[in-house]
């Protein structure tokens, strides 16, 4: 009979990615590039929010965007047309999230000379992107009103790793049983430090608050 040998590993599956992410974060810091990782469910308004935000900030910062999706390039094209800034599409090849290595590949494909603010629009998903550190300087997420106020209870990890939570589609609140106060309470139960900013990406309402938050964070990070 064959001899069986055991090799003990005791290693988290996320460990190698966490290391890659820390290295990437350090490299970006040295280059002076602030990386924002934006996450949410599909259809919560990530791209529309980004367009409004970029148009408020593009005179103050040199911005580049990476759009991650399983397929198509509609988001990258939309961003480029609406803002005029550099925008590329990353395909995850079926994967439901981006990790640090994929983020690095995306950054390598950008023209980063002079860029001080890079944005990664992660795959629309409230589960997996929360588990994989991308090497970002800060994490942001969007929860839209139609999704319901209970999402922080259902997807606790996502809310616990985000520095800012944007509550989008505030204009349709009268049509949904969405309680902003309760939602904020649930978010703070998971993450007492999270900033909560209600916005309406369609009309632009509240997006200036998010832009201010970003400017403040980038300044503090430098």
């Amino acid at each position: 009979m064959d001899e069986v040998r055991i090799i003990e590993i005791k290693k988290s599956v996320f460990e190698s990615n966490d290391k890659d992410a820390d290295n990437l974060r350090k490299e970006l810091k040295d280059k002076g590039i602030f990386l924002l990782n934006l996450m949410s469910s599909p259809g919560s308004g990530k791209t529309t929010t980004l367009i409004k935000t970029i148009n408020l900030l593009k005179d103050k910062l040199r911005i580049a965007v990476m759009e991650a999706d399983i397929d198509s390039d509609v988001d990258a094209v939309k961003i480029k047309e609406a803002t005029g800034i550099q925008s590329i599409q990353l395909h995850t090849g079926g994967m439901c999230h981006l990790d640090a290595e994929m983020t690095r590949q995306g950054l390598d494909a950008l023209e980063l000379e002079g860029v001080d603010f890079a944005i990664l629009e992660n795959v629309g998903n409230l589960v997996c992107p929360a588990e994989f550190d991308t090497g970002s300087s800060k994490n942001a997420m969007i929860l839209s009103v139609p999704e319901g106020e209970d999402k922080p209870l259902k997807y606790p990890l996502m809310f616990s790793i985000c520095d800012v939570v944007l509550i989008n589609k505030m204009d349709v609140m009268p049509y949904f049983d969405f309680n902003l106060e309760k939602c904020t309470e649930y978010i703070h139960m998971r993450n007492p430090k999270a900033e909560v900013i209600p916005i309406c990406a369609k009309t632009g309402e509240g997006v200036d608050k998010f832009a201010e938050w970003l400017l403040k964070e980038i300044k503090n990070w430098k």
Partner: protein, 113 residues
């Protein structure tokens, strides 16, 4: 899809260990998976079968899953309780000043060769 992503990471790490130990065949991979890790064991083993059989090193290799029960600690009364049963609120004193002690693991415990 989530589980498939995890499987790719497991394969990457196991390949690395195999290379370091100069091993060309792995018989089993043992995982410690926490009860509230969001991993569904059946999906993980399904994805494993599909992906592992594409690698010479791992063809036929079995993935064994140990489930780690989730435990939450209450900062208010100092007691521990089952997370799956009671959630975030302490069943002893009703406080929600609690945190997860274990049950979030997605770890490769060991491999047999």
């Amino acid at each position: 899809m989530h589980e498939l992503g995890i499987v790719f990471y497991i394969i990457r790490d196991v390949k690395e260990v195999a290379r370091e130990n100069k091993v060309d065949k792995v018989k089993t991979v043992v995982m410690d998976i926490g009860e509230v890790s969001t991993i569904i064991p059946e999906y993980l083993t399904d994805c494993w079968r599909w992906a592992a059989d594409k690698e010479d090193l791992l063809r036929g290799c079995e993935l064994i899953i140990n489930t780690i029960p989730a435990v939450t600690y209450c900062e208010n009364c100092g007691k521990e309780f089952g997370t799956v049963e009671h959630g975030k609120k302490c069943p002893h004193c009703g406080s929600d000043r609690t945190y997860l002690v274990r049950g979030n693991e997605v770890e490769i415990k060991e491999i047999t060769i």
